[in-house]
């Protein structure tokens, strides 16, 4: 949650707005203000899901605005946000990128965690199959993200510990830790950055994707 202090500028505006009923056409800024007021008034804390989750960091604020406008994010701003997100990636201690792919597969299957019906301290899953095809055996997968089947094989990984594989293994880590480091408005959660998954869990998922023995690369 390190970047959650970048409030939308409109949040600071006093609640005087409500121009409701006026015949005049609202400016986009007026609607932005009204939206923030409505968001603030409409949501409440429930269990572990607190209202501070709706404070947007700079990346989310910029991407939401671009999406609502129906335009891609400004290229320069996008590049800046990607650089900021990349800077915040926490690389694995002692350079250990790879964990246990069998644990990774369990994580990929597990879509639990972080909702208001989850308890504090419950282990979170990776949600991967919700959006990605991963192994060939699992046919219940989503298509919100690209297929990851044969992820390591397609990228020519023979030995994930070899110097040849280093760049891809590092990218894979970075992508799972903070997907917005490579695509500012990616729809993928920032699993490490937002503390959804632990370092150990990210290691297991990297192994799942790049290990030649994992079902992903069979």
């Amino acid at each position: 949650m390190t970047q959650r202090n970048h409030w939308l500028p409109v949040l600071g505006v006093a609640s005087s707005l409500i121009v409701l009923g006026c015949a005049s056409v609202d400016s986009a800024a007026d609607v932005d203000k009204l939206t923030q007021q409505i968001v603030t008034a409409s949501f409440r804390d429930q269990g572990i899901a607190k209202v501070d989750r709706l404070k947007q960091d700079e990346t989310n604020a910029a991407c939401s605005a671009a999406d609502a406008a129906g335009k891609p994010i400004d290229a320069k701003l996008g590049a800046k946000l990607e650089a900021d997100n990349l800077k915040s990636v926490q690389w694995p201690t002692a350079g250990k990128f790879l964990g246990d792919w069998k644990e990774g597969e369990k994580l990929a299957q597990n879509g639990r965690g972080m909702t208001w019906t989850d308890k504090p301290g419950d282990a979170n899953g990776g949600n991967c199959y919700n959006c990605h095809q991963i192994s060939k055996q699992e046919i219940s997968f989503g298509t919100l993200g690209p297929s990851l089947y044969n992820y390591g094989k397609i990228r020519g990984i023979v030995d994930p510990n070899s110097p040849e594989a280093k760049a891809i293994v590092e990218y894979t880590w970075g992508k799972i830790w903070n997907a917005k480091a490579y695509n500012a408005c990616s729809g993928m959660p920032r699993f490490g950055h937002e503390k959804i998954l632990t370092e150990r869990q990210v290691q297991d998922l990297v192994a799942l994707l790049v290990d030649p023995n994992s079902p992903v690369n069979k």
């Binding site: 968001v39 949501f43 804390d45 989750r53 947007q56 939401s64 972080m114 095809q133 060939k136």
Partner: protein
């Protein structure tokens, strides 16, 4: 409840298609979805939502609350007591409250003004409990009275236009630990989460199919879910905090989806897995 046993046939078909999936996943995925659609269609013939509809009609006419009054003078937007066609024009602006209201927030208004019930208390009641159970019946019946009609939400009043714009921003609002917005799942055509097809709610046919099916009977839970309850569970899965029942954020999203679904057919109360 006439032909519930029929459900067994399509279930077997789904199982067959799942087996095929082991051979050719990509091809069978779509067939599985087709199988599920067929299963739903056949279930539709005996949709238990009908029981809720009957209850709702009775509730509408029943004298209740501290004022011992029925809901029969409730104005859902087409004049006091007019139910037919009201569902496909909601949410809309109401001059007496000075607000854009969806079906459920409007029912709260009527329950309070006509019957003397406590709207705040009902809004704070958990889904499926006490007065919220009555709400299930009311929304089932009122939506059924517009079944087959085309969505035609008014966008003449300044507040209706304003709420559409707010709804659009809500739809694209990325937040929570997963950075999800409504649009993450419902912003493009032909997407699936696991095996579940996701309607694109930004345009038709997705907007009408998605928005126009709720309230719906949920086979998995044996309950009738209102639109408010459907949205509530979407926000839970989005890892958002808790949306207030009949809050403006939920109403704005209703305006956004409903207007996007203009011309599409209301199928509520539908049946869902």
């Amino acid at each position: 409840m006439r032909r519930t046993t029929k459900g067994l046939v399509p279930l077997a078909a789904v199982a067959m298609l799942s087996l095929l999936g082991a051979v050719s996943p990509a091809a069978a995925q779509k067939s599985t979805a087709d199988g599920i659609a067929e299963y739903r269609e056949m279930l539709q013939d005996g949709n238990p939502a009908e029981l809720f509809e009957m209850k709702g009609e009775a509730l509408w006419k029943q004298k209740r609350g501290p004022r011992n009054a029925s809901m029969e003078r409730c104005d859902l937007g087409k004049g006091p007591g007019v139910v037919k066609g009201a569902f496909v024009e909601l949410p809309r602006y109401f001059a007496d409250t000075g607000k854009v209201q969806d079906l459920e927030s409007r029912l709260l208004t009527c329950m309070e003004t006509l019957q003397g019930l406590d709207a705040k208390q009902i809004a704070a009641t958990p889904f499926g409990k006490d007065e919220q159970k009555n709400m299930e019946g009311l929304v089932a019946w009122i939506s059924a009275e517009s079944k087959g009609m085309k969505f035609n939400l008014p966008q003449n009043h300044a507040q209706e236009k304003q709420m559409y714009e707010v709804g659009k921003r809500m739809f694209y609002l990325r937040g929570g630990p997963h950075d999800f917005a409504c649009a993450t799942c419902h912003g493009a055509d032909d997407k699936r989460i696991r095996l579940q097809d996701l309607p694109n709610l930004t345009k038709n046919p997705g907007a009408a199919a998605g928005f126009g099916a709720w309230p719906a009977y949920r086979v998995s839970s044996g309950e009738l879910w209102s639109m408010q309850r459907r949205l509530n569970d979407c926000f839970r899965q989005q890892r958002f905090p808790y949306p207030g029942y009949a809050s403006d954020a939920t109403i704005a999203l209703g305006v956004y989806m409903g207007v996007n679904g203009k011309g599409g057919e209301a199928t509520a109360p539908a049946i869902k897995r």
